[in-house]
């Protein structure tokens, strides 16, 4: 799905990529970034502003007017090929607009995406904690495992507390989403709070991980540095929060 845009004031609710209806087709203009697997995807779902709000359009990979600008090289998320994709007078049939004339519930889609992101943040944070616990129990300094040192133990405890916090919040947000219309009014708020808090905590926990491993936190022989780079990317995805 192509949703993000290279803009200092990027707002997912105000896409600068535009789709204009012209008889039986839409014409899309704009540029997207961080589009996963754009080089191999048969179809790309493009989020664009329309005169009715924000729509989602299925664009075929060889559609005239769509081109890959470049493969992005970022600090994290390296294993996932991400591309900048440009649309210049790219025509797509009107029936490729998801949800037909009525369109999709874009706010819900964004909320659910934020909840999905939050869940992955919990996974990364838990990976950092489990690795750090094992490492600090095995690493001996001054005759004792460093896990027994207060400065390390406090970080482990803090990480454990915050992971339970972001997991509970993510589950609550997911549960809210599963209530559908009954809790529609709560979904935007809870999904935003969840993503913001989870992004903040996963980065803090990954930073703890680097601290606890010391020099080993920086080298490729330990996954902590990889998780740290990935954790930093979270706050950038789908709208800046506390970057």
């Amino acid at each position: 799905m192509a949703i993000m845009e290279h803009s200092i004031s990027y707002d997912p609710f105000n896409s600068q990529t535009k789709a204009v209806l012209n008889k039986d087709h839409y014409v899309i203009n704009g540029e997207k970034c961080l589009v996963p697997l754009a080089d191999t995807a048969e179809y790309i779902l493009v989020i664009a502003s329309t005169d009715k709000g924000t729509g989602a359009f299925i664009v075929e990979k060889n559609a005239a007017g769509m081109s890959l600008v470049e493969k992005e090289k970022n600090m994290g998320l390296n294993a996932l090929p991400l591309y900048r994709v440009a649309f210049k007078d790219c025509k797509v049939p009107a029936e490729n607009c998801l949800g037909g004339e009525k369109g999709i519930d874009y706010t819900r889609l964004l909320c659910l995406s934020r909840i999905g992101l939050s869940a992955t943040m919990v996974g990364v944070a838990q990976a950092v904690l489990d690795y750090s616990i094992k490492y600090t129990k095995e690493r001996i300094a001054f005759g004792q495992p460093i896990a027994t040192r207060q400065s390390i133990a406090f970080m482990l405890a803090d990480a454990a507390i915050e992971i339970e916090g972001i997991r509970s919040l993510t589950w609550k947000a997911a549960w809210t989403a599963d209530q559908g219309e009954a809790m529609k009014d709560d979904l935007l708020r809870i999904s935003y709070l969840t993503k913001t808090y989870a992004a903040e905590q996963v980065f803090k926990i990954a930073d703890y991980g680097v601290s606890m491993l010391g020099g080993h936190g920086l080298i490729r022989e330990h996954n902590i540095e990889l998780w740290f780079r990935n954790a930093r990317a979270f706050s950038m995805l789908e709208g800046l929060i506390m970057a």
Partner: protein, 117 residues
Amino acid sequence: MSTFSLDEDQRQIKESMESFAADELRPISRDCDEEFRVPPEFLEKTWGLGLTANIIPEEYGGYGFNRSCLNNVIMAEALAYGDLSLSRGNGAESFRVAHSGNGNRCSEEEISSNFLR
């Protein structure tokens, strides 16, 4: 949400995803990060497991699972524990669309027959 415990289906989802993450994601995580790529065979495995297509109706090649954001959150956490980039690679779109639960009409008949066959 009257309980915070997982039901039997959710426990199975969690365990199978944790096992998949440990066996298939974590071991290739470092190489994929340094080579800037997701191996095609990895994507085939995830497709075979139904991670991407789980809620797509059976007549369109999916598994017809009920849509549940909570189930997908359990799945996403377990996969990201293995590797974040690969977890998003196998279901980058699923997180947003297929995983997005009810209300997006992504599998409505016309769209499904045009794009999922």
